[in-house]
Symmetry: C2
Subunit: 344 residues, 2 copies
Amino acid sequence: MSTRRMPNATIRDVAREAQVSVASVSRALNGHERVRPELRARVQEVAARLGYVPHAGARSLSLARTSAIGVVLPDLHGEFFSELLRGMDREVAAQGLALLLTVLQDGRGLNTLAALRGQVDGLVVMAPQLGAAELRAQLPAGLPAVFLNCVPGLAGAALRVDNAAGAAAMVDHLVAAGARTIAHVAGPVGNVDAEERRAGAVAAAERAGVALTVVQGDFTEASGAAAAAQVARGAIRADALFAANDAMAIGALVALKGHGVAVPRQVRVAGFDDIPLARLVTPALTTMRVDIAALGARAVQLLARRIVAPAEGLVEVDPAGAEAIVPRLVVRDTTTETDRETQS
Amino acid sequence: MSTRRMPNATIRDVAREAQVSVASVSRALNGHERVRPELRARVQEVAARLGYVPHAGARSLSLARTSAIGVVLPDLHGEFFSELLRGMDREVAAQGLALLLTVLQDGRGLNTLAALRGQVDGLVVMAPQLGAAELRAQLPAGLPAVFLNCVPGLAGAALRVDNAAGAAAMVDHLVAAGARTIAHVAGPVGNVDAEERRAGAVAAAERAGVALTVVQGDFTEASGAAAAAQVARGAIRADALFAANDAMAIGALVALKGHGVAVPRQVRVAGFDDIPLARLVTPALTTMRVDIAALGARAVQLLARRIVAPAEGLVEVDPAGAEAIVPRLVVRDTTTETDRETQS
DNA sequence: GTCGTTGATGTAACCGTTTACACGTAACAA
DNA sequence: TTGTTACGTGTAAACGGTTACATCAACGAC
């Protein structure tokens, strides 16, 4: 009760108290095998009594590793951000690592990134707006890294959402649901996700032998509504409207309703992302769900592997060797005739 | 181009290359004053050329501080989580600190917390489900801490959302909007936020002289819908439904619509939190907005202050000395008769 | 009885920084 | 000239761990 006042016990304090050398304390606490059980027990008891916690800095100095990984994220919002971190944290905890978080706000991050070098063993980087050259310049060389949804060709393992496959699956679903003429509301040009989804949709439509018109959008509800208006007016002929994200799909849904178009009877509607709102609108929106937490966990797992064996994983970098997480189709009411009461 | 291959340059490498001592390098790079400008420039040039980044561990060992703060959060979802972290990160970056994130999943966290001791200079802890005794036992003694929405009486500065005042403000608003019989859908028992909101609502209703029935909920949409069903069926008489969070309010809103109850004409609906979804539902939800990012930033600011001056801030701990952030009333369409087109 | 051998423990060097102190130099006052 | 000061720089000792190597005791084989 009264002996534990010392703010920070060191390994030497423990050694003195337990009447052994510092080496023995270190060995006892780190699960070394050549330690007499009796001694190990005594050391553990003393360590607990003194509230000894190894100094992370000293350890990292000695071991040449920090047991921490850095996460660099863009200025994200909401569910995506929290799910990603939750997934990462889960895996990080499992691996006995710590998580150092950095948000890439505005223009900073340039030197912020470099400063991470001394603090972490590896990096999970998500920076859809940065080019490969920029990134490469900023990143500490020789630090294992895993990239999320980045341009390919970086020196590190890459992990991405297979937008193309997801979009293709959605087109297939629409076709199976009876669509013959699809309007795809694309996301902003230059956005990697948007481009991939468009390409996947176009390819799948071609394969399926159905017509597909691409309408330019920008991921906002307004742009979805505008596209829907064109469909409602007949300026674009379509019996299915597939938006590159849920926001546009919902905008379209509202607009179609406003124009007196029946969904899904006259026009089927589908989105992408499965944002929380998707199941709340009426009719509930069919969309593609990405398991964000799994994406985060997988990224950490990959990074941890690359940290212990830097060579591994380098192979899979080149061309399109990035590992992909395939989104899952979530069918709700905007693409199915039956007017179900329950919404999943 | 070819000289920067060395994975990790140390201060000695820089010293050798710049033909000075390590002490001078350290002084030059850390902005010490007694350094000849010419020498400082040379050192900086060499450091940049070699890509030298100080080893954080070594530095923390030498300085007895880590320049990192730990954040311990419950398993939160969505916007709240991301906003809080965004606010924290903003302040943390401004202070030149790093952010170590830990999510308190399930039962773990007990030893996880202790392990943080060696890695951070202070802690921001949010653990609404833990009692004061539990927390005190887990927390490394002598580590500055700031608590968010925790039970009072802990050895550290506290910062909280004034849930009671917020709930009271909402009840007042409902009364002003014509409500005479309020149903309050409470959050899960044991949750501090939920309890405070309920207490605030009950007290305000009493003051205003209106009837208030408490219906048990659990922060999920389903529980909000269930409560609304009771109101719609007449099992509970109420002309206003005030849910302890937006999720329940939205669940209620949808359920009321389903039962053919007009909102806000027959029953006014209000939530708490102002999640993004709140302004998207129709009619748009009246709610209380908490500036979460500001809360996070303020917590970090307070912590940073306590780290440089451990004595400071200890005064404000006792009774109810916790600093409080008061939520702001956001009036939308679920409580006002006028069927406005625009939604703020 | 001596000599390996083996296994448990201690000693001390090292990881990369910071910084108190020592030292050398130059400027200036006496 | 000789002290005194001030300033710039170098030397070396921490900081708290890990671990190669040395040491030492116990034991069995000869």
